[in-house]
Structures are given as structure tokens and as C-alpha cells.
Point group: C2
Chain length 356, copies 2
């Protein structure tokens, strides 16, 4: 393929949730078409994509047909099965590339990668077995948190250990999955940097946003984040360091803990990120278009922030507040076209714009 | 149907061009789904709509199936055949309603309606035949312009008459279609007001934009428009008067000539309007979402303007400038997903944002 996708070219998106939905809309603004691949029926992205394939991740014929029909492949979530990626990668460019996925799919690899770059993370130890867990607890101390190395998200696959006697129960909760132990970080708040890198290596970062979670799910992101001027620069520089080290192409979410001793990297997500939804309200080019620009080989857009914004997720029956929110001035509504508003399900988000 | 469409409801859009495309994207933000009806294959709106029907305007079975599948029907252009509307209207609500279409589909009806409201228009006369044309020219004088009463757009179906001797040739150009004669208006510039009215009768207007045409096609819209403060208010009030008189639901484009003796209404378009594309860059809620909110029975959104904007259409091979435009700061790109860049074809637009 040519390095720069021309209007009419097709972007394949693995995963048809709300991130794929907003990516598809952004692609349409650039004259690009989207083909969404998702194992589930009626994915939210399908409402705004030209083509949808509904097939499991191990359906080789469907994957080949999908790859044949697109010019480049990207994804909205990082836990795509390895065999799926092996096949797709042999057929069409996959962006961001495998290195970013390998790093972000495994908490141990991720921590090793980050500390290898000289960045700070929570203290951590590989925990292949009970003996290793006891040793790790002795070194890191309690409280600590045991996490599966793979497939953890939104607080699942995690067990807190408040005292060493809880080690056995915590390990049982991992269900035999490989795990790591992480020490607690004494942070004041969490921020994230949404960073992008283009095919030519240019890097652009949005202003850091300040995140508040509840029950392990992001609730709000507030711009600007509380950061000392030096920390703002630190956050942007470390994000750039990560993207360059991975020869990354696309948008990445980098979650950081703010502590009195500096910034500590919590985790990275090789995709557009919930904490970047505010960019739809405060920037000329939002994170979704930025990601499409990057994977399509376009120059990155202007991510400068022009307004203060509070992004709030609408979780479960929060969506019942939409009639009231629709009447509020300076509230931008984004609903995801999902059916039932189950508890914990992300149904949409709003951006409250605070103009200076 | 309930007055307020709930998430998951379906909006039927007649016409699948760029306006339908951007309406469909706006609907997705509100959790609504779209079904586009267009006689042409591969309409631009089809790339971002859940369902597309490709069928002619007189295919009764296709129209019935379309109406069955949607909750409300709207349109992106005003020249829908009468029989099509008769059928659809008997099956589902059509918004904006028939009165607005009847007025805007016929230049004579439109002028009679506007002058009946006490608004100023260009001088005009009904021209059923040659004798009427000669009489009209004697009254209105030259230069004047002969226009077909129906189906005229972008400068087609029009003949200038610089002196009375050209009357016969001008009438021949009408090809037997009913026509009206309009006197020239000595205006300094043209502005348009994008106005919206909801189902409960609330009215909201965007700031007037200043339009520049070339070869009968809109080239740029600039915000703010050059208007005296009193004229700004006049423009907004007369737009509201028009919408109220039509019991209108949806967004309307009202084109006005600015003259030393006040504002003169050029024409109205009962739909989202090219001169309102700037709202994508300068407002919390753009004209497309505003139209969807109105036809879906939602409260109108905040159309206050937060930036100066210059909207420029990309016509024909203007689209070759996209690589350069993609590198410019504060330029928002909107491409329509059309194939060949034929001369005069609207391929996209850009919004240049000028922040204060």
C-alpha cells in the first residue's frame, strides 16, 4: 500500500464497540471508508461503518476476506488473539504494530519495557508460583495487589493483599493464570496523556487530563489536570519516549500516577482511550481523527486545546439523565447506540465545555 | 410515535449526499440510527448509515418498506416528488412538513409567502407567457432574471435579461417550464441565517455567515458576517418569523441580500444548508445535530458561536489540495467520500478556525 491512504481507501477496524464507532465517524470526515470486524452481532460501530463482518476471531476465511477488503488494519482493543494477529499481519499492515500489542497485553512485559526506558512504575515482581509470591510480598510489603499478567481490564483479574496471610486466597483468585505482584503507589491523583505518532515519526500529545475512577471504571476526565508546569512537560516527554521506543503508529493512552516524587506510569493502552474523549470538545482534531490520520499515513492534526472540558461517562442507568443533559448549555452528548443499560456498561459520555 | 425519539430509534433520510452523510453522523452521536433512501448507487451517506435503500422515488414497495423501518422521515433536499411525499406522509411523520416544501419548491409561492409576511424580496412577477414577460419587464425594468418556478438550483434554469430584446431567447431557455421574472437587487453582499425550530415551537438561530459564490456555487462562508448590529437582529428575527409562520420543525437556511435599505430575502431552503457547515467548527452543537434534535423531538442545542470561522467548499479538483490542507493548523477537513472529482462537484469542505 502507499504510505498515504487516498480518499475512498478502506480502514479495517478490529472491534465494533464505541471506540470503533467514533473511529469510523472520524474516518468518514477524511473521506475514508470503514470495515468493522466483531464477533458480536449488531456492534455499535456497525451503525456508522460501511461494512460489518460478524465472525469469531478464529474464522480464518472471514479474516482473509476482511483483510482482502481493506487497505490497513487497526483495532479498538488490545486483547486480540495472537493467532488472529499473525494471520492478519501476513496480509495487510496492522497499526499500531505488534511490539505495542506484545507490551500492553502482558503486565510483566509492560513493566519491564517501561523500567527499561528509565521510567518509574509501581514496584512489581513476577509471581510464577506461591513461593515467588511470598518472596515478593516480603520485598514489596503490603498492601499490594496481585494481577493476572494478561486480559485484565476495569478491575477484573485483580486481588488486593492487605496482609501476607491473604496470599493464598489471592493466588486462588487468579485461577492458575500467570500473575505479577504490584506494590501500592502513594499517589495524589491520576492523569493520562493521549499521544500520537505518525508514520514519519512525528509525535503529538494532547494536554494531560485528570481521571477519576469509581468501581474500577473511569468516571470523569477533567482538563486541565492538576500538574506542576514541570510535570506537564515530564508527562509529554515520557509519552513521546514510549511511542518512539515502540516505533508506534497511532494514538496511545498513557496513564500516570501523580506523586510527590514525580510521575509513575500506571499502564499504557495502544489505542484511542476513554480518557481522551474530551478532545471531541476542545480541539480542532480529536483523538479519533488523530488515530485515523496516523494509521492512514496522513500528517498528524492540531491537538491544541482551546477550552476547559469535563468528560463524564454515562454508565448504566446514567443514560436516563440524557433528557436533562440535552437541555444543558455547553454539554456535548455522545451516545453509543447500545441496547440495554446494564450496570457498569458504558452507554455514552458527555463533554461539558467551560469557555475561558 | 412519541414526541421524543429514544436512543435506538431510526431516522429515515431522503437523499444520501453529503448533507445526509453529515446528518447520519450527527444522529449517531445522539444514539439514533439512520436509514438512507436514495435512487443512486453507493450514496455518500451510505458509508455512515446503518441501512441504505437504493430505489427510485416512484417505487411504492420500497417507499413503504422504508417508512415501515423508520420512526420519522426527514430529507436533505427539497425537490422530492410530490407523489413520493404523499405516500410517505400517510405512513410516518415527515419533518420539516409539507408547507415548507410547498413554499420552497416554487419560487412564486415562496416570494408570495415571504412578501405576505411583510418581508422584502427582489421585485418579481409571475410570467405565464410572453405577454406577461413583456409586461413584467416594462414594470421591473432591466437587468432582470428569468427563472423557472421549480427545480432550479446552483444557477441552473435561469436566464439573464439585460435588455427587453432578449426576452424571447430567455423564455426559450425555460423550455416551456413555468417561470417568474425577478428584478436585480443592488446588494453589497449576501449572508445567510441557519435557523432551527423544535417540535415545541422553540427557535434558535446561529450567527449569520457571509457567503461568496462563484459560477453560481457557494465558495466560502465567513463568520462573523459584515452586518450592522441592527441588521444582525433583523436577520435573526425575520428567520424566526419564517419558521413560525410555517410551523416549521428542523433546520432552515435563509439567504439574505444586504442592501443599504435593509435585508432582502433571497431564498429559503428547508434543510441543513451548505452555508451552515461552519457550525461544525465554532459551536457546541452543529446544524446537523440541531436538525436531528428538532426532527427527533429533542430540545434544541446550544448554537452559540465560540470562534471565527471561514468555511471553504472543495469543488472539483480543489480536493487535490487536501494533502496541503491536512498539514495546516486549525483547518478541519470534511470529505464526502465521493468518487471522481468532476468540475463543479462538491467534494468536501474545510473550516478554518480563527481563535480570539
Amino acid at each position: 500500500m502507499s504510505e498515504t491512504l487516498q480518499p475512498g481507501a478502506v480502514i479495517g477496524i478490529l472491534g465494533g464497540g464505541q471506540l470503533g464507532r467514533m473511529l469510523s465517524v472520524a474516518a468518514s470526515r477524511l473521506g475514508l471508508r470503514c470495515h468493522v470486524y466483531d464477533p458480536g452481532a449488531n456492534p455499535p460501530a456497525g451503525h456508522v461503518a460501511e461494512t460489518v463482518t460478524t465472525a469469531p476471531w478464529d474464522d480464518e476465511a472471514a479474516l482473509r476476506a476482511f483483510a482482502d477488503s481493506v487497505d490497513v488494519i487497526t483495532y479498538e482493543f488490545e486483547n486480540i488473539p495472537t493467532a488472529t494477529l499473525d494471520l492478519l499481519e501476513s496480509l495487510k499492515p496492522v497499526r499500531p504494530g505488534r511490539r505495542a500489542l506484545a507490551v500492553s497485553q502482558d503486565r510483566l512485559t509492560e513493566k519491564d519495557f517501561l523500567t527499561g526506558l528509565g521510567l518509574k512504575t509501581a514496584p512489581y515482581r513476577d509471581v510464577p508460583d506461591r513461593a515467588a509470591l511470598d518472596a515478593a510480598l516480603a520485598e514489596i510489603g503490603t498492601p499490594a495487589i496481585l494481577k493476572t499478567r494478561r486480559l485484565g481490564y476495569d478491575g477484573k483479574g485483580q486481588a488486593r493483599i492487605m496482609e501476607p496471610a491473604q496470599a493464598g486466597a489471592a493466588l486462588d483468585e487468579m485461577g492458575g493464570a500467570e500473575a505479577i505482584l504490584e506494590g501500592f503507589v502513594d499517589f495524589t491523583h491520576e492523569v493520562s496523556v493521549i499521544a500520537a505518532r505518525g508514520v514519519t515519526g512525528e509525535v503529538a500529545c494532547y494536554d494531560p487530563g485528570e481521571n477519576v475512577h469509581r468501581d474500577g471504571i473511569l468516571r470523569t476526565t477533567t482538563l486541565p489536570a492538576r500538574l506542576a508546569p514541570g510535570q506537564h512537560m515530564d508527562a509529554v516527554l515520557l509519552a513521546g519516549k514510549i511511542l518512539n521506543a515502540l516505533d508506534y503508529v497511532g494514538v496511545m493512552g498513557v496513564e500516570l500516577f501523580v506523586t510527590p516524587r514525580g510521575l509513575i506510569v500506571n499502564e499504557i493502552a495502544p489505542r484511542v482511550h476513554n480518557s481522551g474523549h474530551w478532545t471531541q470538545a476542545g480541539c480542532t482534531v480529536d483523538q479519533f481523527e488523530q488515530h485515523i490520520r496516523a494509521v492512514a499515513g496522513w500528517p498528524l492534526g492540531n491537538g491544541q486545546r482551546y477550552a476547559d472540558v469535563v468528560m463524564e461517562n454515562l454508565i448504566g442507568d446514567d443514560v436516563d439523565r440524557v433528557p436533562e443533559l440535552a437541555r444543558a448549555a455547553d454539554v456535548q452528548i455522545h451516545l453509543y447506540g447500545k441496547g440495554a443499560a446494564r450496570p457498569g456498561r458504558k452507554m455514552g459520555h458527555v463533554n461539558r465545555i467551560v469557555r475561558g
